[in-house]
Symmetry: C2
Subunit: 143 residues, 2 copies
DNA sequence: TTGAATCGTTGATTTTATCAACTATTTATT
DNA sequence: AATAAATAGTTGATAAAATCAACGATTCAA
């Protein structure tokens, strides 16, 4: 019989929560100095696809002021810098620094390690389907 | 090419975040009076598998005091009552009331509705694999 | 019987997010 | 060209939640 606590949405939520707690601990243990959330921000920035704050806010699904504060703290730590757009002077591009890149790389290694651990015993084709379903659902939920 | 923002963990996190925001809005729109998180609590309680606070804390992966406050507010709304264990007088069983059951039922309908919407266009067998992978990963991440 | 562990509770603190207001700048409308 | 509306970033106030540490009551173990 299926337990109530395994209903789709909550199974989903509790899994990601367990994974996030795991990686938060890992980050603290290895003293990388940032949170998984901030690592996500650095990852986005290093991809150079998006870099202005309002775009980041949309990706992170957070209020722009929340993103603002994350960037503030990353800037204080010297991991990013704000660069004004030359054309539209309202905009500021958030650029990752050398230091930021290093930390991000270190974090990414840790993340891959724990992702690997979490996917242990699961066939690759099932992981592929899993990702496909995730993306489809995200699109459905965002629209 | 795969975008950084679609790396496994963050794709995962952003999907559940979008879904949670969606259901929070839905709950507010229909004025059910509780949050998705509280609905989850009610669901667990109605399954009658677990009912004491320390067990609930473990399932919800929260500090016992956080669970305590959730229950406080549910009790104030008349959706649950605390019943002392007759054998072990430290323990208190959280019991869902008639009112709580009604609200939970209403919430569950809304949740199913939005789950259905989010799973639109995804074959049933892929959903099945998805759930299977979720459970396996949760176990991996929790251990 | 004494000490350790567990359960629920409370207070203090921290973290994080949101909302509203504001400035500066750009874009759209008349 | 002048004015209104929209956008980007910033700040302050506030709210929502979570965590931590400490405590009393109770139970369990040595």
């Amino acid at each position: 019989m299926e337990s109530e606590k395994d209903s789709f949405m909550f199974l989903f939520a509790s899994t990601i929560k367990a994974m996030f707690k795991q990686s938060t601990k890992l980050f603290e243990l290895h003293e990388v100095g940032i949170s998984p959330e901030q690592n996500y921000l650095l990852s986005i920035l290093s991809s150079q696809e998006e870099s202005i704050q309002s775009e980041l806010a949309e990706i992170l699904q957070k209020d722009k002021s929340a993103v603002m504060r994350h960037i503030d703290s990353l800037e204080t730590m010297g991991m990013v810098v704000r660069v004004s757009d030359t054309i539209d002077r309202r905009k500021k591009h958030i650029v990752i620094t050398e230091k930021g890149l290093e930390v991000k790389k270190r974090c990414q290694e840790l993340m891959e390690e724990s992702t690997l651990r979490n996917q242990k015993g699961i066939p690759a084709e099932e992981i592929a389907i899993f990702k496909k379903v995730l993306m489809k659902m995200r699109d459905n939920a965002s629209s």
